[in-house]
């Protein structure tokens, strides 16, 4: 087990920068999830930690030792690939023991390590099979087994569940979480799936365009997103955004945000923005309250029952707007509904997209 320090790490392919200086400290035993849309640089960062990509500038340290120039095999890390990357010509047991055999580990030690990992992952009856005779979920397990037999300093996961169907993904997600609780090994997990990020991470690193947008616990990112990107990326269905102008408090009235139709949505007073500044108001679909006395009226475009709850697709001032509610009455919502925005759930972002207050 080890801590991993990433210090102003940059990566460019020729003249094209992919990562614009990433700083990150990963504590011993922590489960870190790198999340972001495709092309945001999360996989590149992971592959640089693994040693599969060269670092253009900056330092990567594992347990305090600079590893920039170390070959992947000398970094003492294990990686689980999206495609699993199992050796097709070897049995499950040989796949799992390959790294130990290369290190000339004693036969008895190999057998006990493979046996232990197989027991943990429920692979014992499959040890003599070849990868092609396994299902997707079983291959995924073998890939994890191959990683854990070595007891590496850190586990790297590159979208390991993307090739599985939804139900299996949910199941493996829980297993990965259990495994981490059990092994307590430092883990870095790359995904574009924000549910995986939310459920697995001790801390999430949200990335976009080669820049780290926010680092924090899942609920920190959910409750206080640092900018419009994080606010929009985390959460499903995604946060609603409305353009408006900031109204400073005064004359017995509190602060507010004036929307395009003149309605002023009251918000808690914020510092750091001037009067009449252009802002974006954000509210999550599940925080919108439907009420006959609501201050805004929206027309209902579409009603989506998910079973668990109901998603209402609305038009508010001509812009799409979503509500998520558990109330079945919403199924019979009329052509229009009135909505209210509780103050404590409102997010305000300035014209650069950064959170205010």
């Amino acid at each position: 087990m080890a801590s991993i320090d990433i210090e102003s790490v940059r990566k460019s392919y020729g003249p094209f920068p992919v990562l614009h200086g990433v700083d990150l400290t990963i504590r011993d035993g922590e489960f870190i999830v790198l999340v972001g849309p495709s092309g945001c640089g999360k996989s590149t960062l992971l592959r640089m930690i693994a040693g599969l990509e060269e670092v253009t500038s900056g330092d990567i340290r594992i347990s305090g030792n600079r590893v920039n120039d170390l070959a992947p095999k000398d970094r003492d890390i294990a990686m689980v690939f999206q495609s699993y990357a199992l050796y097709p010509h070897m049995s499950v047991a040989d796949n799992m023991s390959y790294s130990l055999r290369l290190r000339k580990t004693a036969k008895e030690k190999i057998a006990s390590a493979v046996g232990g990992a197989a027991a943990k992952l429920g692979l014992e009856p499959l040890l003599e099979r070849r990868p092609k005779a396994l299902s997707g979920g079983q291959r995924q397990r073998v890939a994890m087994g191959r990683a854990i037999v070595r007891k590496p300093k850190a586990f790297l996961f590159d979208e390991p569940l993307s090739n599985l169907d939804a139900r299996l993904r949910e199941q493996m997600r829980a297993e990965i979480k259990k495994l981490h609780a059990d092994l307590k090994a430092t883990s870095i997990y790359v995904t574009h799936d924000q549910i995986e990020a939310m459920t697995l991470a001790d801390r999430i690193v949200a990335m976009h365009g080669g820049v780290v947008q926010q680092v924090g616990s899942p609920l920190e990112l959910y409750d206080t997103p640092a900018n419009l990107f994080v606010a929009g990326f985390i959460g499903s269905p995604g946060m609603n955004f409305l353009e408006g102008r900031y109204v400073v408090p005064g004359e017995g009235k509190g602060a507010g945000i004036r929307l395009s139709d003149g309605t002023v949505v009251p918000v808690a007073s914020r510092t750091g923005i001037g009067p009449d500044a252009t802002v974006t108001l954000g509210i999550r679909p599940e925080h919108v309250v439907i009420s006959d006395t609501g201050m805004l009226e929206a027309s209902v475009d579409l009603v989506e029952p998910t079973g668990f709850g109901i998603i209402l697709h609305l038009s508010l001032h001509g812009l799409p707007f979503k509500i998520f509610t558990l109330d079945r009455e919403a199924l019979s919502a009329g052509p229009t509904v009135r909505v209210d925005f509780p103050q404590k759930y409102l997010h305000v972002f300035d014209d650069k997209g950064d959170r205010v207050g």
């Binding site: 070959a71 095999k73 990357a85 010509h89 290369l102």
Partner: protein, 307 residues
């Protein structure tokens, strides 16, 4: 139930005949074409082996049974050609494969201008074999070619002479030409197989601690094995039948030192004009190659079953 008995009557004979022959009639054009193009010449060719066919002898053509094969059993030139065939095929396939594999491994690594090099590598394959043979014959000729002079400069030869006229070295001339000519085949097919290997397997192996040699042995080689087996089989059969270069460069000489079975058949048929005897030799070669092919196919099957 009321309507069924009517249907139970057997249809008239003509209808039944037409129904039964339908699939054969549909496939007949293709089958007849294949039979005419492939089977007829084969059968005629095989029949020559048992007949006395000499182009310049108008009275020949009679059935001679196994006479040709008895003569073949006594024919020292044939056994010499058989030994030369083994030597020619073995050396050619071995070097073509070795250099082809090395070239494929080099071309598999990304480098600037790889597309152009890949295209150029294929060029020798596009050169007509007779032209390639003439070219190499000239290269080995000390009067016009540079190679003997280079050999002397390197200390490999005492004085520039033509290795094609040296009984001990003559076979190397066509072999070198054949290797040059055949490397692209192995390079391109093996390169295609190499590029089908998923890259992340190599990445996983490098994280697992495998060096270049171990990665080659535990990933590249198992992936290439089926391709290697089938290409080596094909090339072996082709090369043992491939007389062009030898006919052009040495014509079997000096003193039959470069005569292989295929060129011996050519000599018998088109120089001595004894088609019967040539067919008998060809039949023996065919049988040997069939046995060899079956062995390789069996080997490949066991390999695939294991893999």
């Amino acid at each position: 139930m009321m309507h069924q008995p009517i249907q139970k009557h057997r249809p008239p004979l003509r209808k039944r005949l037409a129904d039964a022959s339908e699939p054969y009639l549909y496939s007949a054009p293709a089958l007849i074409l294949i039979a005419a193009v492939m089977l007829v010449p084969l059968v005629v060719g095989i029949s020559y082996a048992f007949r006395d066919i000499q182009l310049l002898n108008p009275f020949s053509g009679g059935f001679v049974g196994l006479d040709h094969f008895r003569a073949l059993g006594q024919d020292q030139a044939f056994f010499g050609a058989l030994r030369n065939t083994l030597w020619w095929t073995g050396a050619s396939v071995f070097f073509q494969f070795t250099f082809g594999l090395i070239l494929a491994l080099l071309l598999d690594k990304p480098f600037y201008g790889r597309g152009l090099v890949q295209a150029l590598v294929f060029l020798p394959w596009a050169v007509p074999s007779f032209l390639a043979g003439l070219n190499w014959a000239w290269l080995f000729n000390p009067v016009i070619g540079p190679l003997p002079h280079w050999f002397v400069a390197l200390g490999l030869m005492d004085e520039p002479h033509n290795i094609l006229s040296d009984p001990h070295l003559a076979m190397w001339g066509p072999i070198v030409a054949n290797v040059w000519w055949g490397i692209p085949f192995f390079a391109i097919t093996l390169l295609a197989a190499l590029q089908a290997i998923p890259r992340d397997l190599y990445e996983a192996a490098s994280i697992d601690g495998a060096g270049p040699v171990q990665r080659f042995l535990s990933i590249t080689l198992p992936f290439l094995a089926p391709t290697i087996a089938i290409t080596v089989l094909l090339r072996t059969v082709w090369i043992s039948n491939f007389a062009d270069l030898i006919v052009v460069m040495t014509n079997g000489g000096p003193a039959d030192r470069t005569q292989i079975v295929a060129s011996y058949i050519f000599t018998q048929a088109f120089r001595r004009l004894d088609f019967g005897y040539a067919s008998a030799i060809a039949l023996v070669l065919l049988a040997l190659l069939l046995v060899y092919s079956m062995l390789i196919v069996l080997l490949r099957q066991t390999m695939l079953n294991k893999g």
